[in-house]
């Protein structure tokens, strides 16, 4: 009685996504596959392009985090030309990136993954969406979220021209800096964002941590994987979302590696599977052992909790307080709990807002010196930033005229691809027994998946209440046995054939 379950959420990770779960004869989960049925081939068509256009071309990899690509690419073209941007330019870039991180994380908490917690995983399904969140925290807060996000995104528009696909980064700096008035506005937005970050953590504290069931779920085994963790750190090993060295800790939390991006090929490798258009990155020195966790497997995780695990703390005071509290509650570092990603995301959001204030308060960003004209012959370079969804690396090699000859990208959104597969499989394993699938699996499996932050399209989904996930249970001959999906009112409908 072998069965197959297809989950076709098409969440905006980097294109479309699909999960296939296979059951064994007893009806228990045998394995799960996270498939990406799409490829666009940036690494190839970058060849021949003018390298300074790369910061404008590569954001189109992902319209959800174009700012992150724009930043990684900007740093990469600096390196290709061997030019160090003036301090003001670096600060302006980080400021834009901080605004981006803050709005993106806020969005996830309130619109995407948050509803599971704020409203509760066992709450009536019709409430488990943004409207439910508003019911819990008040409509006013909802308006505040929309407003906050709009103001933060305006910062990106001001400097970057377009919030979806900014254009300001050039080799050697930025094309535009803020005026004094703009800077004042940034500072205001930043201060409000800090308040907003604290408020969000309060919501999390009251609603999630105040409820034993939720806490049990977070620390429970279904959502746990002992893996390596990766993230950028500063010289004090504090989390840095914009710059620094890439640090990796092992499943016990011991530093496994720390390297500049220029050394990434010694540490990161990618595995190819015939059933997906995406690649699966892993730690080269540990090796690819398949979709398993533990110290012997090269599978690593990226993005919020991974970054907090990989560092020794936060560089801003309010975020540091929260950092300590989180690890204390979770029973120390590293924390392997996939659902704690939501918590870590809020701490990072607070950090990014604090950084935004620091940078907007710095008079240097008003300097006229925001670009340096490169005068070296372009050659080869790498650039790294932390995107909301993980460590993002761009690597270009050019000819003497600055035309790209080779391009390689380690895309953040895929950093968790192996882990995501494992998490879904584990959740499914814990929930599907003897071939029995009920409404619960739908949301619990979705939760394993959502913790890693599926992108924007899901937000719109939640807002409008359209179905996110469809589960089809099939016999080996492909015949459909049962289908589960979410109706417009949020209820789960089950159709048995």
């Amino acid at each position: 009685m072998q069965k197959r379950i297809t989950i076709d959420p098409i969440t905006r990770l980097e294109g479309h996504g699909k999960i296939e779960i296979f059951l064994d004869d007893a009806g228990d989960v045998k394995n799960a596959f996270f498939q990406i049925p799409e490829l666009r081939g940036f690494e190839k068509f970058a060849e021949g392009r003018l390298v300074e256009e790369m910061p404008r071309i590569t954001p189109k990899i992902c319209g959800v985090c174009p700012t992150a690509h724009h930043m990684a690419s900007g740093k990469c073209v600096d390196a290709v030309y061997g030019v160090e941007p003036p301090p003001a330019a670096k600060k302006i870039r980080e400021l834009v990136n901080s605004a981006f991180m803050t709005e993106d994380h806020a969005l996830h908490f309130f619109f995407l993954g948050g509803p599971d917690f704020v409203v509760g995983p066992t709450a009536p399904k019709a409430e488990r969406n943004i409207l439910g969140v508003l019911g819990k925290v008040g409509l006013e807060v909802g308006t505040q979220v929309i407003q906050m996000r709009k103001r933060l995104r305006n910062i990106i528009t001001t400097i970057g021209g377009k919030v979806i696909h900014p254009v300001c980064n050039i080799p050697g700096g930025v094309s535009r800096g803020p005026t004094k008035e703009e800077r004042d506005e940034f500072l205001k937005v930043g201060k409000d964002a800090v308040e907003f970050g604290l408020f969000s953590l309060e919501v999390f504290n009251d609603v999630v941590l105040g409820n034993k069931d939720y806490v049990d779920l977070i620390v429970g085994d279904i959502y746990k994987h002992k893996t390596y963790y990766m993230g950028l750190v500063d010289e004090n090993n504090k989390v840095n979302l914009f710059d620094g060295k890439i640090r990796v800790v092992d499943p016990e939390g011991k530093e496994f590696a720390k390297f500049p991006v220029s050394d990434y090929l010694n540490h990161i490798a990618e595995h190819v599977e015939p059933w997906s258009y995406i690649k699966f990155p892993y730690l080269k020195k540990v090796g690819w052992k398949g979709f398993v966790d533990g110290k012997d497997s090269g599978v690593y995780r990226v993005s919020p909790l991974a970054r907090l695990n990989a560092a020794d703390g936060m560089a801003t005071p309010l975020a540091q307080e929260q950092y300590e509290k989180m690890f204390e509650t979770l029973g120390g570092k590293p924390a392997h709990n996939t659902l704690a990603w939501h918590w870590a995301r809020l701490i990072e959001m607070l950090y990014a807002a604090e950084r935004l204030v620091e940078l907007a308060s710095d008079d240097e960003i008003l300097s006229d010196e925001i670009r340096r004209i490169p005068n070296n012959t372009p050659d080869e370079g790498m650039g790294v930033v932390e995107a909301p969804r993980g460590t993002l690396i761009h690597h270009y090699k050019t000819d003497k005229r600055g035309r790209v000859e080779k391009c390689n990208l380690i895309v953040a959104t895929l950093g968790n691809s192996a882990a995501m597969c494992m998490s879904v499989e584990k959740a499914a394993r814990g929930l599907i027994k003897g071939g029995r699938v009920d409404d619960g699996i739908l949301n619990m499996v979705e939760m394993a998946f959502r913790a890693y932050d599926p992108c924007m399209a899901c937000a719109t989904h939640s807002l409008l209440n359209t179905p996110l996930i469809d589960v089809v249970l099939r016999r080996p001959d492909g015949e459909e046995i049962m289908r589960l999906f979410r109706e417009d009112n949020g209820n789960i409908r089950k159709i048995e054939k």
């Binding site: 060849e47 003018l50 256009e53 404008r56 050039i170 094309s175 997906s276 992108c455 399209a457 179905p467």
Partner: protein, 326 residues
């Protein structure tokens, strides 16, 4: 009266066009009031059966973004075409091919070779490439076929209107939606943006002299451009003259030249060719007599990647459509 049914669907795209809709912020609620959204960007292909069950033309309007690259995308847009009264190509990729259209300089094999084998981070000694079907025991996993060539939406199905931009700005999305809801529809095939060139609306147009004399072509990082001056005047290639306005001069405001995401102005089929000929025609115009063919060639040579630059967003919709591969 039943609200009109509206669908959103995406193909080879980045998600930016969905973000653009979300950036309507509060306005989105107005849209939701007025129409019945039966699909969102998370339009799920399993719901395909539901669409199949609909009457032809039952969907009032489908907004479709992204270029067409796979089998699955092609089938889906054909289905949506049948079921929709109107189809709007949403964003640069659906309109003119967009950045993913640059892949037409290559083909499937070269793209696979690069992505799965050649890049320095991949460890793939057995040379495994993704396949449309993978057998695992007696189960199989499938992937949609990846085409050799990226096509615009209009090359695959009949399109009624085009909403340009990468991504389209919120104002123009709202204008288009309002026009459709109010039935104030322009002629079929219209691009829903002003029929002017970007230069006509650019704040720097004042300093754009009648005749531009480019003595030397510069790349954007090679000089610090005067934020008041026309880019062309400073020798930086700007696609403004051949590009349709309506974007809000977003790149210009960030002190960067236009790269043409809004596509060509009315009457111009080949955006890149028009841009190139425009640049060629103004090159050294003032010193026309002194410029020899060779001089002009020399200037053009300074543009190290003319094809990539002039066709940055529009390769699939150009006359050539793609590079010939042997």
């Amino acid at each position: 009266m039943a609200k009109p049914k509206v669908a959103f669907y995406w193909n080879a795209s980045c998600g930016g066009c969905e973000e653009a809709v979300v950036d309507l912020a509060e306005d989105i609620l107005k849209v939701v009031e007025a129409v019945d959204i039966i699909f969102w960007p998370v339009a799920l292909d399993f719901k395909r059966s539901d669409i199949e069950a609909m009457d032809d033309g039952e969907i009032a309007v489908s907004f479709i973004n992204g270029a067409i690259r796979t089998e699955e995308q092609e089938e889906m847009v054909k289905l949506l075409r049948r079921k929709s009264g109107l189809v709007v190509a949403f964003g640069s990729c659906a309109h003119i091919g967009g950045i993913p259209g640059l892949a037409n300089f290559w083909n499937r094999d070269t793209i696979f070779e690069r992505a799965y084998k050649e890049v320095p981070s991949v460890e793939n000694p057995e040379g495994i490439f993704p396949r449309t079907e993978t057998q695992l025991g007696n189960e199989s996993l499938t992937l949609p076929e990846f085409h050799n060539t990226v096509r615009t939406l209009g090359q695959v199905i009949d399109v009624d209107y085009y909403l340009p931009g990468c991504a389209p700005p919120p104002e123009s999305i709202m204008d288009a939606v309002t026009a459709i809801l109010e039935g104030k529809l322009p002629e079929k095939g219209t691009v829903l943006a002003p029929d002017k060139s970007l230069c006509d609306t650019c704040p720097r147009t004042e300093s754009k002299p009648e005749k531009i004399s480019i003595k030397e072509i510069k790349r954007p990082h090679e000089i610090t451009p005067d934020p008041e001056k026309c880019f062309l005047e400073e020798g930086i290639i700007c696609l403004g003259p051949a590009t349709r306005s309506g974007c809000g001069e977003r790149c210009i405001n960030a002190n960067m030249p236009c790269r043409g995401c809004f596509g060509p102005i009315t009457g111009v089929g080949d955006h890149g060719a028009r841009s190139l000929s425009f640049i060629a025609s103004i090159l050294g115009l003032e010193d026309e007599k002194k410029m020899t063919e060779e001089d002009v060639q020399g200037l053009i040579d300074k543009i190290a990647d003319p094809a990539g630059l002039f066709y940055m967003y529009s390769l699939p919709s150009s006359l050539l459509k793609r590079r010939k591969m042997v």
